[in-house]
């Protein structure tokens, strides 16, 4: 089936929403309340389009495509409609963009510059509402900035089914809030910050830390568990500070995480700022060490497929027994995004045929004289007595008696992960190089 949007012919399927077709084809359509993973609500009226044959403008989020539908998104008439709607949305808005954390990624700002540009008609004082309200779970609410799109309340009532958020009051006193004496409390709560198209909901963890226009973004995969949720890593490097990662945002993938991320995964960015700061041992010493008998290596199941392959090759050439133990946590999974298997890449480990047996590992550990640990948390802080040990680490370790090599963490490396459903995905490095080499580069030197 074909439809025409602004004189461009577009292929689409019967029963699709017009706004979905537009979003999937990167056609600019302003909207607040519609969200591809929350569905249509039709309350903001920003997605008005002209449809040939229809008497008056229609909202694209409530229009299903029909054969030969002709849609106009830009015209004098429709811009005037959007301008009036926007004026009503912004009527009681405090216009405090200079101190608002959303500035730069705010839909109100964008649409005002695209369609607004009017002088306010308001002669009476603006309605005052609550500001800087702590909702719980790191979420801060400013009721005056809200456009009442109800994305956040629909998220808690339809997605998490916890129903903490709702609209209180009506008319110009309507505002988002929690029930008296209650707070926003669920393991996915911080998604509402990202869902909010304006500066009403902001993250306590991120706000006032960085202006978003100073941030760069790289495509990555969350390493928190085996689900492999798609994320964007927001980072920057300023004149006087080394590169720092400021937040994770969910990157839409309809097959895996839609547009959502659990709070555990979202806050796991902090570990990435804790890279190895010490000096790595000499590679020549390591070459000497590898001449020992009875060697054992333990690899983290969250390493990328490429890293695991490099380790496996090393182990085969030097006759090292290689193991990989899963990070398993019975209490973590929840049947939605979180899985009990907290290793990001166990599927790759199995694909490469690396031994994951705990008993065999325990037995080998007893016998081994040299232990190589590739970033596995089990052996990271362990003392080995008179056995020699080599730590390959992506996080900072206190100076220990053994040998230690730092390597770049997943934000600074490119690689492949296979998630719990067998989906193979790539993640990409940020623009700035880490002080430490990548694990593959490091192992290359041992050849």
């Amino acid at each position: 089936m074909r439809i025409t949007i602004d004189d461009i012919s577009i292929e689409c399927e019967e029963g699709e929403l017009l706004i979905d077709v537009m979003l999937n084809n990167n056609i600019n359509i302003p909207h607040f309340c519609y969200h591809q993973d929350l569905g249509a609500d039709g309350n903001c009226r920003m997605c008005m389009v002209e449809i040939k044959g229809a008497k008056r403008p229609q909202i694209a989020c409530d229009t299903f495509v029909k054969e030969n539908l002709e849609v106009i998104t830009k015209s004098e008439n429709i811009n005037e409609v959007k301008r009036s709607i926007l004026e009503l949305e912004l009527l009681n808005h405090p216009v405090d963009c200079p101190i608002c954390d959303q500035a730069g990624e705010c839909k109100l700002q964008d649409y005002y510059m695209d369609y607004g540009l009017y002088e306010s008609h308001l002669t009476t004082p603006k309605t005052k509402k609550g500001k800087a309200i702590e909702l719980g779970s790191n979420v801060m609410l400013d009721q005056e900035r809200c456009v009442l799109c109800t994305r956040c309340t629909r998220f808690t009532s339809e997605i998490t089914k916890t129903g903490e958020l709702g609209i209180i009051g009506r008319g110009d006193s309507a505002r988002v809030g929690v029930a008296p004496g209650h707070e926003l409390n669920n393991p996915y709560a911080m998604n509402v910050v990202e869902l909010c198209p304006v500066g009403a909901l902001t993250s306590k963890d991120f706000r006032f830390k960085q202006r978003v226009w100073f941030l760069d973004t790289s495509k990555s995969i969350c390493h928190g568990c085996s689900r492999g949720c798609n994320i964007s890593i927001d980072y920057n490097e300023t004149k006087y500070t080394r590169e720092k990662i400021h937040r994770f945002r969910a990157r839409r993938n309809a097959r895996i995480n839609q547009s959502f991320l659990c709070d555990y995964g979202r806050l796991s960015y902090k570990e990435l700022n804790n890279s190895f700061k010490g000096t790595s041992s000499s590679i020549e010493d390591l070459k000497e060490l590898l001449k020992e008998d009875k060697k054992l290596a333990l690899a983290s199941p969250s390493l990328s497929l490429e890293q695991l392959q490099a380790i496996q090759t090393l182990c085969q050439t030097h006759n090292i027994k290689l193991f990989c133990l899963a990070y398993y946590d019975e209490s973590f999974g929840d049947g939605w995004l979180k899985t009990n298997d907290k290793s990001a890449n166990l599927a790759s480990v199995k694909k490469l045929g690396i031994c994951t047996c705990q008993e065999e590992f325990d037995a080998a550990l007893q016998e081994a004289e040299l232990i190589l640990n590739f970033d596995h948390t089990l052996l990271k802080h362990q003392e080995f007595g008179n056995k020699k040990s080599v730590q390959f680490t992506s996080t900072h370790l206190p100076p220990a008696c053994g040998y230690c090599f730092g390597f770049a963490n997943f934000a600074h490396d490119t690689g492949t992960l296979i998630n719990c459903e067998g989906i193979t995905q790539k993640f990409y490095a940020t623009r700035f190089r880490d002080k430490n080499p990548s694990l593959s580069e490091l192992l290359e030197q041992l050849r």
């Binding site: 009532s157 004496g181 209650h182």
Partner: protein, 147 residues
């Protein structure tokens, strides 16, 4: 503090249950009964209703706060509601309102409300939910001083 519907209201609720295909349709009648029973809607009453209807507490609070006639705090004073909609306005509710405000605002809480469906007796006001129609300053003095 806990809340339970009294015997009389529990019987009412049981008969109301048969009236609607879905239990959640009872939300407004239940809020009304709770307000009648206690004089206002307490947090405990909303919790009780949300558990009874199997709805999130926030949903109940959202609905209750939408309607201005539900109150969330106990009244210190008795409430006078003065209608300000068209029929009463045309029949002089503005003067009545001013008269009540200047003479009774210390003893009563005065609220302006929209049409209460007694246009034939405009102008009208209520005291504690009881209707008084065709009110004049003399009639007001008589009724309010008795209370």
């Amino acid at each position: 503090m806990s809340f339970r519907f009294n015997q009389e209201n529990t019987i009412k609720i049981a008969s109301l249950l048969n009236r609607y295909p879905q239990k959640k349709a009872l939300i407004l009648p239940l809020l009304w009964l709770a307000q009648k029973q206690e004089g206002f809607i307490s947090d405990a009453a909303m919790k009780n209703i949300s558990e009874f209807l199997e709805l999130p507490l926030m949903h109940v609070y959202s609905v209750a706060s939408f309607y201005t006639m539900f109150r969330f705090a106990k009244n210190e004073k008795k409430v006078i509601e003065v209608c300000r909609t068209l029929s009463c306005e045309l029949n002089g509710s503005e003067d009545i309102k001013k008269y009540i405000q200047s003479n009774y605002s210390d003893r009563f809480e005065i609220v302006e409300v929209e049409c209460m469906g007694a246009c034939s007796g405009a102008p009208m006001c209520t005291l504690e939910g009881k209707y008084f129609e065709n009110v004049t300053p003399q009639k007001i003095d008589k009724v309010f001083n008795d209370n």
